[in-house]
């Protein structure tokens, strides 16, 4: 019994020391974890506070932008002085642009307030268009005045709704917290903000040609709209076989049914490139080709692939077009083709072609703009001469070239002289209206880390 008690004491001491070590380790770990949790929590709280502040700022900016737009719009309705109306409309447009910007920064489900964003954007686009009209010495019509009145009513409703929501905001409302409470596709904040377009707000239809106009969304396909020739999938497949050096199967992937209706295929070429092609059901034209190849060393020069691109377009039956622009990016050459009528380049009817400089193969083709815009046009006569137009260009510019063009400017086709100019180490394209003689657009060629781009 004694021996047994002695062993027990020994064991007791050992257990005691183990327990002390264990408790020590656990206490140490707990203290460490506690400190880390406090530090982590501090960082998280700080981040959440910063984010909430950013949301609140966007919200109050939005309220201010809408309030300002409403104030300026109310002034528009009180005067017939076109010049002043033009200034006010520009201010409305600026405020709606900022409102849209602030609205897009808030944590709102994108399907939640589509209508409100659309209204704000179109209101800005409409005001901008009317302002430009006034700048061109044209007056606002009674019908446009009526639309402005309706727009003001809707804007006023939106302002009132927003200010009501602001009362809620003043009551310690957290946008961040309410954006995390999800109700199906919406969060609480979206539901809150939806009030700006559900409280009896009716948006009038704005009929105009300008930024964000409905006419820009639902484009009709002018080149094909009167055609009754419809092809089947087999005919579309034959067209691909005719246009490309196909290696193996041409696989039908389904149809695209939107502005264009196309049969879609994938296929491989003999160079090993994977291509995706869309053939229009009406008349059977290649509308889009999207392909790419592995990066390979160029073996052809730009003129060789240009010839290849030109003969490819001829095979696709889109009439006579000429190269109006080209660029080389990495081992690909990009060409823009356009029809030329009476010596005038028709820019709206562009066809874009991408070629491999390694194989000269066609890697990309985009004829959407051509088919949307192409019609048999009567080109109006230039009423001012090139020399007269040239007087609009500052003498400091070196004029490198001049072309007659029909250019899509501000959502309209404008007959222009296109002057390619060089000034201070930079190339510019200056467009002078061939009828009015005014400068209608200036494009600057910007050098980027990925080739040049025109802005």
């Amino acid at each position: 019994m004694k021996k047994s008690r002695a062993i027990s004491k020994e064991q007791y001491r050992k257990i005691n020391s183990y327990l002390i070590i264990t408790i020590g380790v656990l206490v140490g770990a707990c203290i460490f974890l506690g400190i880390m949790l406090i530090l982590t929590n501090q960082v998280a709280t700080s981040n959440a506070t910063a984010l909430e502040a950013s949301y609140q700022k966007s919200y109050y900016n939005l309220v201010e932008n809408i309030n300002n737009a409403e104030t300026e719009m109310s002034k528009v309705l009180l005067t017939d002085d076109d010049k002043y109306v033009g200034e006010l409309l520009t201010k409305v447009s600026k405020n709606t642009h900022n409102a849209q910007n602030n609205l897009s920064l808030l944590p709102i489900s994108i399907n939640g307030i589509e209508e409100s964003i659309k209204f704000i954007n179109q209101l800005g686009g409409y005001c901008e268009t009317l302002s430009k009209k006034i700048t061109d010495n044209k007056s606002i019509t009674p019908q446009e005045k009526e639309t402005l009145q309706q727009l003001y009513n809707s804007l006023l409703d939106m302002k009132i709704s927003l200010n009501k929501i602001s009362n809620t905001m003043n009551n310690k409302y957290s946008i961040l917290e309410n954006s995390l409470n999800l109700e199906k596709d919406y969060n609480d904040f979206t539901l809150q903000l939806q009030a700006i377009h559900t409280n009896d707000v009716e948006y009038p239809t704005m009929i105009y040609d300008g930024p964000f106009a409905d006419s820009q969304i639902t484009q009709e396909i002018k080149a094909l709209k009167n055609s009754t020739t419809v092809i089947d999938e087999e005919r579309a497949r034959e067209l691909i076989a005719k246009l490309f050096d196909v290696d193996g199967e041409i696989t039908y992937m389904g149809d695209t049914v939107h502005n264009f209706e196309t049969f879609d295929f994938t296929f491989k070429t003999k160079s090993g490139n994977e291509n995706f092609a869309q053939i229009s059901k009406t008349e059977g034209h290649l509308i889009t080709l999207a392909g790419q190849e592995q990066d390979r060393e160029p073996a052809y020069d730009i003129n060789e692939v240009m010839t290849r691109a030109r003969s490819f377009i001829a095979k696709n039956g889109v009439g006579e077009v000429e190269v109006v622009w080209h660029d080389i990016i990495a081992s690909n050459a990009y060409f823009n083709f356009a029809p030329i009528k009476n010596g005038v380049i028709l820019y709206p009817d562009l066809i874009k072609v991408k070629c491999s400089l390694a194989t000269s193969e066609i890697l990309g083709y985009e004829a959407r703009s051509y088919f949307i815009n192409h019609i048999e046009r009567t080109i109006p006569a230039f009423t001012i001469s090139q020399a007269q137009a040239q007087t609009k260009i500052k003498s400091a510019y070196d004029i490198i070239g001049v072309r007659k063009v029909l250019a899509p400017i501000e959502f309209q086709e404008v007959l222009c002289y296109e002057f390619e100019c060089f000034y201070d180490d930079t190339t510019y394209y200056i467009y002078v209206n061939g009828v009015t003689g005014s400068v209608v657009n200036i494009l600057k060629v910007i050098q980027t880390n990925d080739g040049s781009k025109i802005m």
Partner: protein, 298 residues
């Protein structure tokens, strides 16, 4: 039993502690180097090449890399604390200038590591170079440049200058003045394409980029590429941070094609993968087409 209990308790405490440390490890080690991610990648590659490190080249300065740096520091008589500072970086051949640009060490090119990396990639693709792509202008790259210059009738000195870059199809603006700008829109769009559709066929990648651009032009959406991409809840790639991954060449090509007007969806505003999408409202949108796994709607 009690011993076993004790052992498990200690192990549990250690596991909890270390898992917590692991989750915050980036915070701890971030202060142990002045190098940025791409410089760390170069360090890892070099230490691997020189036999001090056998881990992956990730750009992340963790325990394994630190151990490699300590081995390197011991060998070169530097303070072996694992701190990857200016002195160690210089010994590894990385010049940390105040401009924070990793310039090559040989002086055989005036360009920074980004341009050198692009040149290396192109030389690799075209069969003049067999890697690794590091962004450093070392003897292997010089030899590849010489081979390329010989083939193209250029002065075969191994100097990577504007003429050679032009032949390589790498555009480097001559001036950094008013006519130069970074193509930030293309970069951001390419990142979005890579994050959202990198496993998709090329046309599907172009289509994703086109959806972004269609939104920019549509009244119901914000009006710039960045506003559209960063609109809350618009793209999962932003929420799960994949938008910050470095895009590959295909993503850049697709983004560039979309910016040039390519749009196989003909104006679609939405896309989703029907196998994983959960938003009911999205399913009610009219479908235009399907490319790869993505359904495109408007």
């Amino acid at each position: 039993m009690k011993k076993r209990y004790l052992f498990f308790t200690i192990m549990l405490a250690l596991v909890i502690t270390f898992s917590f440390i692991e989750s915050n490890v980036q915070v701890f080690f971030a202060a142990e180097t002045i190098a940025n991610e791409s410089q760390v990648r170069v360090v890892q590659q070099r230490l691997r090449d020189w036999g001090y490190y056998d881990g992956p080249v990730t750009g992340y300065y963790g325990e394994l890399t630190k151990a490699g740096v300590i081995r390197f520091q011991r060998k070169h008589g530097l303070n072996p604390e694992g701190y990857l500072g200016e002195l160690t970086l210089q010994k590894i051949g990385i010049n940390v200038a105040p401009t924070a640009t990793a310039v090559s060490f040989t002086g055989d090119t005036p360009y920074d590591s980004t341009i050198i990396r692009r040149a290396q990639e192109r030389l690799l693709n075209w069969g003049y170079f067999d890697g690794p792509v590091t962004g450093n202008y070392g003897p292997l790259t010089t030899a590849a440049v010489v081979r390329f210059q010989q083939k193209h009738g250029l002065n075969a000195e191994g100097y990577l200058g504007p003429q050679t870059l032009e032949k390589l199809g790498i555009f480097v603006p001559a001036s950094t003045g008013q006519s130069y700008t970074n193509n930030a829109d293309l970069d951001l769009l390419a990142r979005c394409v890579y994050a959202e559709a990198r496993g998709e066929p090329y046309a599907g990648q172009v289509a994703v980029a086109a959806v972004v651009l269609n939104r920019v032009n549509h009244p119901s959406f914000p009006n710039t590429i960045s506003e559209v991409i960063y609109q809350p809840y618009a793209f999962t790639a932003v929420a799960d941070r994949q938008i910050y991954l470095t895009p590959n060449q295909a993503a850049y090509n697709a983004a560039r094609d979309a910016l040039n007007g390519w749009d196989p969806t003909y104006g679609c505003l939405f896309y989703y993968n029907p196998a994983v999408a959960t938003s009911q409202w999205m399913f009610n949108k009219p479908v235009a087409t399907q490319i790869g796994k993505h359904v495109f709607a408007y």
